[in-house]
């Protein structure tokens, strides 16, 4: 299929979150943090979660090395999950994130997926550290975790190929 190259039509919600991101920055007293993506992808998100003894997300914050869509989706995820039980936070899907930012341009869907991937990694890591996995937490990686891993592996592969090419 021949694709056109229309300007990225970021909607007002994304622009607003890009200009004034919510819950931005490293959290010093986080219960857990997790990363998805890497600088080679041009997309990287870190989530910080503060989780209460009763398993509620008390606070969430993020840092994002990425485009406007990446920043906006990360920001909205931190807002969506604040006050949620971990089980409900786990059930946040990239589709609901895309919806919450008022829709994403199709080439930017992966940004929403990466944001949710980082969130799910953080939740999984939280339980791993505690050594107790609740029954609702699936053992096999979720769709978003798989996608994040794929993007990271692709970037690593390209990086390796470049290093090989340099050695030629």
């Amino acid at each position: 299929m021949k694709l056109s190259r229309a300007p990225l039509p970021y909607n007002p919600k994304i622009l607003e979150l890009f200009r004034n991101p919510k819950n931005l920055g490293k959290m010093e007293d986080a219960s857990v943090s997790a990363v998805a993506g890497n600088p080679m992808c041009g997309d990287m998100i870190t989530f910080y979660l503060k989780i209460s003894d009763t398993g509620i997300v008390e606070k969430a914050s993020f840092e994002s090395y990425g485009c406007a869509a990446n920043i906006a989706t990360s920001s909205i995820v931190t807002e969506m999950i604040k006050g949620m039980k971990l089980e409900d936070a786990w059930n946040v899907s990239y589709k609901s994130v895309a919806e919450a930012v008022g829709g994403l341009p199709s080439v930017k869907f992966h940004c929403g997926i990466l944001a949710v991937g980082a969130l799910k990694r953080a939740i999984r890591k939280y339980f791993e550290i505690r050594g107790a996995t609740p029954t609702w937490l699936q053992k096999e990686p979720s769709f978003e975790e798989k996608q994040a891993l794929e993007e990271e592996q692709l970037a690593k592969m390209l990086d390796k190929r470049m290093k090989l090419a340099e050695g030629k």
Binding site: Y10, P39, G42, T46, E63, S64, G66, C67, L158
Partner: protein
């Protein structure tokens, strides 16, 4: 979709100043060029130049004068060597496809460099599917073509070599004369094409002195209107048309000539060449001020491409580490500074700039790269404004990355 774009535009209201550095991708046409063009829409020369009436003859006269002027700026032997096309993409397609098709029975090899513009890369990819073999000559860390590898790549079956005179992204001025000599030494029949769109009006460029066979020039890259460009074709070089239709004054490009655009293209050339040295020196001084300013104010930045005399005077290409390029283009736009980025995100191909990767930049360096071209219409104040806005924008975007994105 257009609703979203309207909202994005609203977010720009109240800009103090607007500074356009994205000459790589389009350009504003200065008033004096627009004024030169306007009469040609409805006052004079609006006829078809091949027809037998006054507006047609006027158009014919206008086009002949335009080709003569461009021929003199390019150093051609005569005006017939200038072939107008609708732009750089079309001229590059015509050059490469036109030669490949004309020589396909005896020569089926094409040689380009790793850092050619996208249109050249895609044309040769198409030729590859048609059974041509394609060699991409590597470049060094400043973007200079490896002449030894060029020598190895050319043989008795090479139909065409296409090398840009000046790299469109990082401003490397290629050793074109040496490259032409090497190619001709290997195979005197190989046609040498150069995309000179980033050389014309910016560095000395003379088709006879360089002895190239074909050369592409773009109108908008010298602040002429879009919709015009030309391909220099040395007398005696035979290439096929790539589009068919009614042929007018331009033997290689069918259809009705875009006289007003060609007039604007010619006017834009005149404005540069009437005082070439002064224009270029001024652009270079402003570019140096921009680059030196950025490099001294902002930490963790890297200039992409060569420094000094081997870099085109208008080009600035800088990687801002820990700063994603697309986010930076949007942030700068909201302050009225317009640039483009080699980031994967802004290119929509999800692959960063092939030029930056070819010179050995890491992916994160390419993702944080910004391309700016200083032009004739810019002032000292424009550069000062950019130097005020860019550090703030980089700071804010780096603030969002925090410790994330440090490799």
């Amino acid at each position: 979709m257009v609703e979203n774009v309207r909202e994005l535009l609203k977010a720009h209201s109240g800009l103090k100043r607007e500074v356009y550095f994205d000459v790589e991708n389009s350009s504003p046409v200065p008033d004096e060029v627009v004024e030169a063009m306007l009469p040609y829409y409805n006052k004079v020369a609006y006829g078809n130049p091949t027809l037998t009436h006054k507006p047609g003859w006027e158009a014919f006269e206008t086009l002949m004068e335009s080709s003569q002027k461009l021929a003199s700026y390019l150093g051609c032997r005569n005006a017939e060597e200038v072939n107008f096309t609708p732009g750089e993409t079309e001229a590059n397609n015509l050059a490469i496809l036109g030669i490949a098709r004309s020589l396909k029975e005896k020569a089926r090899k094409v040689v380009i460099s790793e850092v050619e513009p996208i249109n050249v890369l895609q044309v040769v990819e198409m030729l590859q599917k048609e059974g041509f073999s394609v060699t991409k000559v590597p470049v060094d860390r400043e973007g200079f073509v490896n002449l030894e590898k060029l020598r190895e790549a050319v043989d008795h079956e090479t139909a065409i070599v296409s090398l840009s005179a000046v790299n469109h992204e990082i401003g490397t001025i290629q050793p074109l004369k040496e490259a032409v000599e090497i190619v001709s030494d290997r195979n005197v029949e190989t046609v040498f094409h150069t995309d000179a769109s980033d050389a014309f009006g910016k560095v000395p460029f003379d088709v006879q002195a360089l002895n190239v066979d074909l050369a592409t020039v773009s109108s908008y890259k010298i602040l002429g209107p879009r919709g015009a460009g030309c391909l220099y074709v040395k007398g005696g070089v035979d290439l096929e048309r790539i589009l068919e239709g009614q042929i007018g004054t331009q033997r290689l490009w069918p259809g009705v000539e875009n006289t007003p655009a060609i007039v604007g293209f010619t006017k834009a050339s005149e404005l540069i060449f009437q005082d070439f040295e002064t224009n270029v020196a001024r652009i270079k001084r402003l570019r140096d001020k921009l680059v030196d300013g950025i490099m001294s104010i902002i930490p963790d930045v890297e200039l992409n491409g060569p420094r000094g005399e081997k870099r085109a005077p208008d080009n600035a290409n800088i990687s801002f580490l820990r700063c994603e390029g697309e986010a930076l283009t949007i942030e700068l736009s909201l302050s009225g500074v317009y640039v483009s980025s080699g980031s994967a995100c802004s290119r929509r191909l999800l692959q960063p700039s092939h030029v930056l990767i070819a010179i050995g930049r890491k992916f994160d360096q390419a993702h944080g790269s910004i391309l700016m071209k200083v032009s004739r219409v810019q002032s000292e104040e424009d550069i000062n404004y950019a130097l005020e806005v860019i550090p703030k924008a980089v700071d804010r975007i780096r603030g969002i990355s925090g410790s994330t994105g440090v490799s």
